[in-house]
């Protein structure tokens, strides 16, 4: 891991976003340090995905700023792939976009045990598509990777693979922003958890050497409020 674990990689300052006058994010402040895994926890509609889309630059902030020192990679959706194209050819498109060698494709496919490279993307199950989306995100040497509900549709083996892939990348200094409804998963992986309720970060919990205090309990307390 690179020295200076506290080097700021991404900062969100007072970020607000509305859709048709409905406030979705309200003055969101947080930062991500180098080599850190930050989990964002919140109910459906709390603004998690919007926040990731803002970080990716796909949506524009109404007010506030998001600054990032490095190029990002992301798997926030199984969209963006061509149904009538094989998995390998889809990955080739992304390798070109990310300026990666073709050898990176094989490495990423292997990471998620993808042996269906010659199958058309449209013929895959939701879980297989999710693995392809994750492999795409893990292509290249990015310092920050955004993963939106990465365990969705995955079988147990794939969840284990994802977990070890994240841990391996963390060791080499990569930071992650993860959103998930599976709190036990976040407990295992994250250094810090942000609770996002109705567009606001209402609580931030940092893991100690022994891990987190019970995130589920924390979530229940906050949702009752």
């Amino acid at each position: 891991m690179e020295s200076g674990a506290n080097t700021m990689l991404l900062t969100s300052t007072e970020v607000s976003k509305s859709f048709r006058k409905k406030l979705v994010l309200n003055k969101v402040n947080f930062s991500v340090n180098l080599g850190e895994i930050v989990g964002i926890i919140g109910p459906n509609g709390s603004g998690k995905t919007t926040l990731l889309n803002l970080i990716m630059g796909l949506l524009k902030v109404d007010s506030g700023t998001i600054s990032c020192n490095h190029a990002l990679s992301a798997a926030v959706s199984r969209k963006g792939f061509f149904e009538g194209m094989t998995v390998y050819d889809n990955m080739k498109v992304y390798a070109h976009l990310k300026k990666q060698n073709l050898s990176e494709i094989d490495r990423a496919l292997e990471l998620f045990d993808i042996d269906f490279g010659k199958t058309n993307f449209g013929k895959l199950s939701a879980g297989m598509k999710q693995r392809v989306a994750l492999a795409q995100a893990f292509m290249g040497d990015y310092k920050l990777i955004l993963l939106d509900e990465p365990t969705n549709h995955l079988d147990i083996d794939s969840i284990f693979k994802l977990r070890s892939a994240i841990e391996a990348r963390k060791k080499s200094g990569t930071s992650f922003i993860l959103t998930s409804h599976v709190l036990t998963e976040l407990e295992k992986l994250c250094n810090r958890a942000l609770f996002l309720f109705k567009g606001k970060i209402v609580k931030e919990v940092t893991a100690t050497d022994t891990g987190f205090a019970n995130l589920e309990e924390e979530y229940l307390k906050l949702s009752v409020k």
Partner: protein
């Protein structure tokens, strides 16, 4: 980013594209050949005008629904629909996506231009009488067809970027084209004025006099130069600039499952 390579890998990797290409590669020359044969038998085309008539047929057929518009609308529309645009904007930039689509339009125009030359040679060689055509005819045809196809492709690219949906673009195309033809016809009849600057007329003005697509009035742009054609590049540049502005200012649909 190598735009040409990027567009090419997306084009060649989808099997249905080759089926679509086959429709153009086989369908267009055959359609032109049949139309020319029937027109000749029915004495609808003079021998001296035979190749001009074929050139008009090829360019106008190619500019219609199943050919160039389909390639532009379906491809770019799909990329907006399946989130590919978002991924390109995220991993590269909105400017890169826009340029890659300009390159795509160029590729399609070149492909159709090449197909046009092949079709013209086929029509000439298989004509029911000996057709004498100068190299100059081919030179003018290549110029007129290429720039007509490019103009049509860019116009449809702009419409697709604004509408961002295949269905909406096809309906808009039908309505716009229909309304424009009606407006052109009525204004010409009532006020004796040509609404030359309307989108589909101005883009057709490179091969048909006054952009009147409903007449088979193919003309040699260099012999009968119509200065109004000079408005076309200005029109296209304005459309592209406005489209680019809209694309970079307007938000994309958020990526989520």
């Amino acid at each position: 980013m190598n735009y040409l390579y990027f567009e090419w890998i997306k084009l060649k990797s989808r099997r249905w594209i080759w089926a679509l290409a086959a429709i153009s590669i086989v369908g267009l020359p055959v359609a032109i050949k049949v139309v020319m044969g029937v027109s000749y038998i029915n004495n609808e085309v003079a021998e001296g005008q035979f190749m001009e008539y074929a050139a008009f047929g090829f360019i106008s057929f190619s500019s219609m629904y199943l050919f160039i518009p389909l390639w532009i609308i379906v491809f770019i529309g799909t990329e907006f629909g399946n989130g590919h645009v978002n991924q390109v904007v995220f991993n590269a930039s909105d400017k890169d996506y826009f340029i890659s689509k300009l390159v795509y339009c160029l590729l399609i125009s070149l492909a159709y231009c090449l197909l046009g030359v092949i079709t013209m040679v086929l029509v000439q060689v298989t004509a029911p009488f000996k057709v004498m055509v100068s190299l100059n005819f081919y030179g003018v045809f290549i110029f007129q067809s290429f720039f007509t196809f490019l103009s049509i492709a860019l116009l449809f690219m702009a419409i697709t970027f604004v509408a961002r949906s295949i269905a909406v673009v096809f309906v808009s195309y039908f309505l716009l084209s229909f309304t424009e033809d009606l407006a052109f016809m009525f204004v010409k009849k009532i006020y004796d004025t040509e609404l030359f600057f309307l989108p589909f007329h101005i883009t057709s003005s490179l091969y048909v006099k006054g952009g009147e697509r409903l007449t088979a009035n193919y003309y040699n742009l260099f012999q009968n130069f119509d200065s109004r054609v000079l408005l076309l590049p200005v029109f296209l540049l304005a459309i592209l600039w406005l489209t680019y502005r809209d694309f970079t200012k307007r938000e994309l649909k958020p990526l989520s499952d």
